[in-house]
């Protein structure tokens, strides 16, 4: 086994859930026990996270609206999708040096956006 590109692409939890549901429904998961186990357990985990109610459209719109805060990094946006912030303390955790990079109003705006697109989160 040769590693060609360790991090070719980063996935949101939603994308993983969709991919694994396809695997579970296809015949290939029955052929190997390990695959059946890991897909089942990972789906179980993901179905207990906010990604279970997300749609591709919601995620895309959320990302577009977040662009106006310009300074957010990709991994910060990814975290906000996987675990949508509902409290200012969540933003502090996700965004490094959030006090310097975001104003209080911006923090509230991000939380509003996250609640608007992912109402069932938390």
């Amino acid at each position: 086994m040769e590693i060609r590109n360790q991090k070719h692409q980063v996935l949101t939890n939603y994308e993983v859930l969709m991919a694994l549901r396809t695997v579970k429904d296809s015949k290939s998961s029955h052929s190997t026990k390990n695959l059946a186990t890991i897909t089942y357990e990972t789906i179980q985990y993901l179905e207990n996270t906010p990604c279970k109610d997300q749609t591709q459209e919601n995620i895309e719109n959320f990302i577009i609206e977040l662009k106006k805060f310009g300074r957010l990094t990709k991994s910060e946006i990814l975290t906000m999708i996987n675990d949508p912030p509902t409290l200012p303390v969540h933003i502090q955790l996700i965004v490094e040096d959030s006090e310097e990079r975001l104003s209080e109003t911006q923090v509230d705006e991000i939380i509003e956006l996250s609640k608007k697109y992912f109402p069932n989160a938390s």
Partner: protein
């Protein structure tokens, strides 16, 4: 938390499988080989994603199987250092807290990375955050088994499983090492909950109104 890793491997196709397409055989073989296994310095392999390209197939003199180099992509669990994950408390020991995600449970929060001050309750077998109250008293916040816990990834450790040599050949120090190494999981994540917002969700949702001095009053929107 999840990434796609691009890998290269040689697929051996037995003549009995020649009626199937190479793509299908590779997918099955790679799932057999990698699914639910930890690949050193890569992470926990979850599921085959796609083939990028096939090399030329060749047949070796010794058997009738065809051998093909294949470049492919695999879904891998490999949370980034400093990312946030939510899991469940699996068990507590005096050294810290073990957390499980269901599909992965080699996650450990050392006692030095808990909220401060915390103590270990021997009776309940749980860690307790002694939240200080204004009048000098403290409020005990228990971290019980099964509770949902949010933590930050602070470190990771890959252990390559190596064949252990004949026992007791070297000095004492190495022989004790091999014993413990045998027990080590191939991939382990270390977490921390010593920041505001980490730990149990209920600590922050219930208290946010009373504990924090909220500057702005409730906004109507």
């Amino acid at each position: 938390m999840f990434i796609i890793t691009e890998l290269k491997s040689t697929i051996k196709v037995d003549p009995s499988q020649f009626n199937k397409s190479l793509a299908e055989v590779s997918k099955n073989e790679l799932n057999k080989k990698l699914a639910n296994k930890v690949l050193h310095n890569v992470g926990l392999c979850i599921s085959f994603r796609e083939v990028v390209s096939f090399g030329d197939s060749c047949i070796l003199p010794v058997d009738g199987s065809s051998h093909t180099d294949v470049i492919f992509r695999y879904i891998v669990f490999r949370p980034e250092i400093s990312s946030l994950i939510t899991g469940k408390i699996k068990s507590c020991t005096r050294d810290g807290i073990f957390v499980t995600l269901g599909f992965f449970d080699d996650i450990f929060i050392p006692k030095d990375e808990l909220q401060h001050p915390s103590r270990f309750d021997e009776v309940e077998n749980a860690w307790v955050w002694e939240y200080p109250l204004e009048d000098g008293a403290k409020h005990d916040l228990f971290m019980d088994v099964g509770e949902t816990i949010k933590f930050r990834v602070i470190d990771e450790e890959f252990v390559e499983s190596e064949p252990t040599g004949p026992p007791e050949t070297n000095s004492e120090s190495t022989s004790t090492n091999t014993n413990t190494d045998n027990m080590k999981p191939p991939y382990k994540i270390f977490g921390a909950i010593n920041e505001s917002g980490l730990g149990l969700d209920s600590w922050w949702t219930q208290n946010s109104g009373e504990v924090e001095d909220e500057e702005d009053d409730e906004e109507e929107s």
